[in-house]
């Protein structure tokens, strides 16, 4: 199944234009032929709270002290600071004994479309300010909204990726509040009749959820709605604000979860996961760090099993969090503040709070009395949006493989670690994995491992693991920032995939050493070696790995062992059962000596180790034993 970029799909569906690139270059994730292994995740008891020893010092809870928690925390921080240690680790700060946290999240994501939601003005990012503005965008008197149907494509894809039920009829409401970034005095949104409802996102341990949540946790999505973005405000000196109306009216989706998140790290993992899901179906323009995704969190606390029944505590809303770290930090800070207030006998006010990056406390933005009544009203100019089953079916069938399936495939099929698989998936906004597939394709072609078996998995996938490691780690060493690699969405960068595949094919066959391979990679990255002449370069510079023969290795090994009877004695002790562990360190010491004694370019440490070990066992240990 191929992933077709939304832009192309909408071009085809709405204007009947076909991509110039042709179907041969379509992005073809290889997981389609995934082996459906019966993966039974080891079931750990779900919901058991493992109390980290350092979460709260035992004396703080044991002692019948009346000091409020916040004060304790402050003092604790002071002590920690005095002792020169860092503040307590976030990973150890997921729970507070005696208290339960409840979090709901609203995520706003910019849809990947060519036009605004209600005007044919182009969507843009960082273009000349106020250069893409239609009459309606600035609420010119007498102008009217014109719903752009193609915005539905990424919206529906996003909702499908979030396992939502697409609603056949949805409607637009006006939400009224005054702000300079909103020319009409209201935002057109879907509140009463959203286009998607009842979704869910499954988070796994590898997504970075709190350990307390176990291996997997499911977060329900209440609804997904479409709405307009506001203008961009740039603060200028002297209390002046500049407004860029390019952003006003851009299509957003708002994803509203049920209050089912119990831990700060899980909240951050949820936002990260949503971003990955949206990127994987090409629904979203930019990631969170680039401002394409914003989150509001609703936080409340209650005592565990307390007399306050099962009712949730009063919640506060923290607006406009723009990074995953901010989501987690803000929730921790707000949770601690609420607990401190409650323990001091206070009451939590339902209010809106703010958070700035790097801060340690949320700050009050406006209280309940300052809350605006949004006076929702159906927009009288806009008819209902009717989404046909055929559109939903088509988008669902063309959506391709979702990240979780792809990650499972990477882990099972190629033996990647969960962490590496996740990194490969998320780096460069999803382009890195595409690069990996490109490299793998080229590599398999060179090794003659093509897919001729109709997708059957070759028993040995070491070449794929090699490719993955290089795409991730060796490539990563080239630049300080991944963005400097110049990775394109099609999965190409300054190191063309065919060039890397050429290097790896030689490395895989042990025709060159890893050291030579790394040098070649640098050469290509710097442009010193043309991408299509990897093999010629090896030829020209005679970089082929002309490995020593077994006899030469053995000769070298014998030479090194000479005069090292004391070391050989260690091996004898092991053999005789006097030492419990094999003296691997000693072995490696001897291998090192071998490498230094011989011609390194012609030696493989693994071969050296193998031969050395054999010589020790066959010749030198018996010799010593015989003495």
């Amino acid at each position: 199944m191929s992933r077709i970029p939304t832009t192309e799909l909408s071009r085809y569906l709405l204007t009947g234009r076909l991509s110039r690139r042709g179907c041969l270059n379509a992005r073809l994730p290889r997981i389609a032929a995934l082996r459906q292994a019966n993966r039974t995740s080891p079931s750990r008891a779900f919901g058991t709270r493992v109390e980290p020893a350092t979460a709260v010092p035992s004396d703080a809870t044991a002692a019948p002290t009346t000091a409020p928690l916040r004060k304790q925390l402050k003092e604790q921080a002071k002590v920690l600071k005095a002792s020169g240690k860092r503040k307590k680790n976030k990973a150890d700060n997921q729970t507070v004994p005696g208290w339960e946290l409840t979090v709901g999240i609203e995520i706003h994501a910019q849809l990947n479309t060519a036009r605004k939601l209600f005007s044919p003005a182009a969507t843009s990012f960082n273009d000349k300010p106020n250069s893409h503005v239609a009459l309606f965008d600035v609420a010119m008197p007498g102008s009217q909204p014109l719903f752009q149907p193609e915005t539905l494509i990424p919206a529906v894809r996003a909702a499908l990726a979030l396992n939502c039920a697409i609603q056949p009829v949805s409607r637009f409401d006006r939400k009224h509040y005054f702000h300079w970034d909103q020319p009409a005095g209201y935002q057109i949104t879907q509140y009463y009749h959203p286009f998607a409802r009842d979704g869910r996102v499954v988070l796994y341990a590898r997504d970075g959820i709190a350990p307390e949540d176990g291996d997997r946790v499911e977060i329900g999505i209440r609804q997904v709605q479409m709405e307009q973005d506001t203008a961009k405000t740039t603060a200028q000196p002297g209390g002046v604000h500049w407004l860029d109306f390019n952003r006003v009216g851009l299509p957003l989706i708002e994803i509203i979860t049920l209050p089912q998140i119990r831990h700060p790290a899980t909240a951050a993992a949820f936002v990260r996961k949503v971003q990955m899901l949206l990127a994987s179906v090409d629904a979203c323009v930019l990631g969170m760090e680039a401002g394409g995704l914003r989150a509001d969190v609703n936080v409340s606390v209650r005592r565990t099993g307390g007399a306050d029944g099962r009712e949730l505590g009063t919640r506060t809303e923290i607006k406009n969090l723009s990074s995953f770290k901010a989501v987690e930090d803000a929730i921790i800070a707000e949770r601690d503040r609420q607990i401190a207030v409650l323990e001091a006998g206070g009451v939590i006010e339902g209010e809106t709070r703010g958070w700035s990056l790097g801060s340690t406390e949320t700050r009050r933005l406006r209280g309940k009395e300052g809350e605006v009544d949004y006076r929702y009203m159906p927009d009288p100019d806009l008819g209902p949006v009717v989404i046909g089953d055929d559109l939903v079916a088509h988008l669902a069938s063309s959506m391709g493989v979702l990240p979780d399936a792809e990650i499972d495939g990477l882990i099972e099929k190629y033996g990647l670690s969960a962490k590496d698989a996740l990194s490969l998936m998320t780096l460069d906004d999803g382009a890195r994995i595409q690069y990996f597939y490109n490299v793998l394709d080229a590599l398999e072609a060179r090794l003659g491992l093509g897919d001729e078996n109709g997708g059957a998995i070759a028993p040995d996938q070491r070449h794929a693991l090699l490719a993955a490691n290089w795409c991730l780690h060796e490539l990563g060493k080239l630049t300080e920032f991944p963005s400097d690699l110049g990775m394109t969405p099609e999965g190409e960068c300054h190191v063309p995939s065919v060039a890397l595949a050429a290097i790896l094919s030689h490395l895989h066959r042990k025709d060159i050493t890893a050291k030579v391979a790394k040098e070649l990679l640098w050469g290509i990255f710097r442009g010193e070696i043309p991408a299509d002449s990897v093999t010629q370069t090896i030829d020209a510079k005679n970089l082929w790995f002309n490995e020593l023969s077994e006899a030469e290795y053995a000769q070298l090994a014998d030479k090194v062992v000479e005069g090292e009877d004391k070391v050989v004695g260690e091996f004898l002790r092991f053999k005789q059962g006097k030492a419990r562990a094999y003296p691997q360190g000693k072995l490696m010491f001897l291998v090192g000596k071998m490498m230094r004694a011989g011609t390194e370019q012609r030696m493989d440490p693994a071969s050296a180790e193998r031969v050395l070990r054999a010589r020790l066992e066959d010749v030198h240990i018996p010799r010593l034993e015989a003495r």
């Binding site: 009459l135 600035v138 609420a139 010119m140 008197p141 007498g142 102008s143 009217q144 909204p145 014109l146 719903f147 006006r174 009224h176 005054f178 702000h179 300079w180 020319p183 009409a184 005095g185 209201y186 406006r366 300052g370 009544d373 006076r375 929702y376 009203m377 009288p380 100019d381 806009l382 008819g383």
Partner: protein, 557 residues
């Protein structure tokens, strides 16, 4: 709150009228296009003069260009960068723009008195009704620069009062208005001209500054229904006999509520009269038609003179022209006015949110206000920028949309609106093409309808009723009226607006002997005809025929 007096705020700059003076006059223009200095060659581009209500966007090639003020201080200097579709359409048919007419601010009012440019009045006093002259020359021997005794002036009606007066004085052959709850029909009735509100969605609203989008329609005023019929349905233009396309055919992609070409064709399928204006005798048009007299419109407050004229008109149609006149019942009518004054202000409060002193109008910088400091940035600017009536409706609308009042007001009003539409669908012989035909089982009908059953569930072609319960009141009395009394004037016009139906007000001679405004002579009231959705073509033809019967009966006297 007093509605008396001019809204303070800035005086609007007038693009000099012919005298350049601004004495207390009819005050029906906010800005005028200078007359061509030399008689321009009789080009095909100028077939008729057009006045445009100042809440419809216009651009102009001549300088100085005129603003689109909506009679609001907020927009006193607002020059629209684009022109309303309807203006462009009329220009293409030979309209020459003569000026922008005065109105109630943003169309909110029934007497054109709530204007930043001052109140409009009509050039008639109770004792001097104008002669309905078929061959009116332009200017109609009324000198707009004559000073009138303020106390004797009559209300022009609203909110399209300026447009009605421009037609009455002959300065415009056709005037554009907007009709949200009767804003074209009411001034037409008061001023003795023809005012037509088309089916909702027939004429593009693009470029019309919205008051209440779900009710707003562009309306047309002229001295004769035939003029409007020709524009809407198509006909011969000017002397050269060239035919031009009727406005009813033209959709507008820029207005999402404007019907698409396919929908227009579908709606017109079950309708007569869209093939062009046929030459038929009035008797032929009217013969066999069934007119319904809505019983609920015979209210206590109805001026006896108007009630008599209404009955007389019905009798004439039946006895002399072979039409049938039957009583019908529209039981939801009594709730319609209340529903209207919930829905319209709610939408208005939303539409007017954009006027905040940042982009439009002048920001009030005297009052230190800052949103970041917990204050409200716009309150002072909006408080100063809007007139009292607009503020009243914004408050009303904001309240009915607020979370605690929404269910009791806005949602209920929408239910009433649906009932009103059902009432109409039940009495009209034609189906409403926008809705699935409903079968009205007598058992399901409200008991109040069952009372009318001795006439059977009579189905009619048109409804015949007065446009307003009274003749044009004195401006002086209007100024002393409270706002709820003023809302009463809309009681007969609002139901058709809620249902989106076409309606037209034609002048009807009424004996004003018993009328409240004193005097003895014959005055003009408005007779309203309401048709089923998209039955505009027949409605205009019938309106023309009916108004001719008045000519003949007047002559017969």
């Amino acid at each position: 709150m007093s509605t008396r007096g001019r809204p303070r705020g800035l005086r609007l700059r007038h693009v000099c009228s012919s005298t350049g003076q601004q004495r207390r006059l009819l005050n029906h223009f906010i800005s005028k296009v200078p007359e061509p200095t030399e008689p321009s060659p009789p080009s095909t581009s100028s077939r008729f003069t057009l006045a445009v209500k100042d809440n419809i966007a216009t651009t102009t090639t001549t300088t100085p260009s005129h603003p689109t003020t909506c009679a609001s201080p907020f927009l006193s200097t607002y020059h629209s960068p684009f022109e309303a579709t309807i203006v462009t359409q009329l220009r293409a048919r030979g309209a020459r723009l003569v000026g922008k007419t005065n109105l109630d601010e943003f169309g909110m009012g029934s007497h054109s008195t709530h204007s930043a440019a001052g109140a409009v009045s009509q050039p008639r006093t109770p004792s001097s009704p104008p002669q309905p002259d078929q061959n009116q020359t332009r200017h109609n021997n009324i000198n707009e620069d004559d000073e009138y005794n303020d106390l004797s002036l009559l209300s022009a009606g609203g909110s399209s009062g300026g447009s009605a007066v421009a037609v009455l004085t002959g300065q415009a052959d056709v005037a554009l208005g907007t009709d949200t709850g009767g804003s074209v029909r009411l001034p037409a009735a008061y001023c003795g001209v023809v005012g037509y509100k088309p089916s909702y969605g027939m004429l593009s609203r693009f470029g019309v500054v919205p008051y209440a989008n779900s009710l707003d329609t562009v309306g047309l005023l002229a001295r004769r229904a035939a003029t409007l019929q020709e524009l809407m349905i198509g006909g011969r233009g000017g002397k050269d006999g060239e035919r031009f396309q009727g406005l009813w055919r033209e959709g507008d992609l820029r207005d999402p509520t404007c019907l698409s070409a396919a929908a227009r064709a579908r709606c017109a399928k079950g309708r007569e009269g869209y093939d062009g204006v046929a030459e038929r005798k009035d008797g032929d048009v009217l013969r066999g038609l069934k007119f319904g007299l809505p019983l609920e419109y015979n209210i206590e407050e109805l001026d006896p003179g108007i009630r008599d004229a209404w009955a007389e008109a019905a009798r004439t149609l039946q006895d002399r022209f072979g039409a049938r006149v039957v009583p019908v019942s529209l039981p939801s009518t009594r709730h319609a006015l209340a529903a209207y004054y919930v829905i319209a202000p709610a939408e208005a409060s939303s539409n007017l949110a954009k006027y905040d002193g940042i982009r439009y109008g002048t920001r009030d910088t005297e009052v230190a206000s800052d949103a970041a400091a917990g204050g409200v940035l716009y309150a002072a600017s909006r408080g100063k920028g809007f007139g009292d009536e607009v503020k009243r409706r914004i408050l009303l609308g904001s309240y009915t949309l607020s979370s605690e009042a929404m269910d009791n007001y806005f949602i209920k009003a929408q239910r009433v609106r649906r009932l009103v539409r059902r009432d109409f669908n039940r009495v009209f012989a034609l189906d409403n093409p926008l809705h699935e035909p409903e079968t009205f089982d007598l058992a399901d009908l409200d008991e109040s309808i069952a009372l009318e059953d001795k006439w059977g569930p009579e189905e009619v072609d048109f409804l015949l009723c007065p446009t307003a319960p009274t003749l044009a009141p004195k401006l002086d009395d209007v100024m002393n009226q409270n706002s709820v009394d003023a809302y009463m004037n809309d009681v007969f016009t609002v139901p058709a607006s809620l249902a989106g139906l076409p309606a037209i007000s034609i002048p009807m001679p009424a004996a004003s002997g018993k009328a409240t405004n004193g005097g003895d002579g014959v005055a003009t009231a408005g007779l309203q005809l309401i048709g089923q959705y998209w039955d505009d073509a027949r409605l205009l033809a019938v309106a023309d025929a009916v108004s001719r019967t008045f000519d003949s009966t007047t002559l017969a006297r």
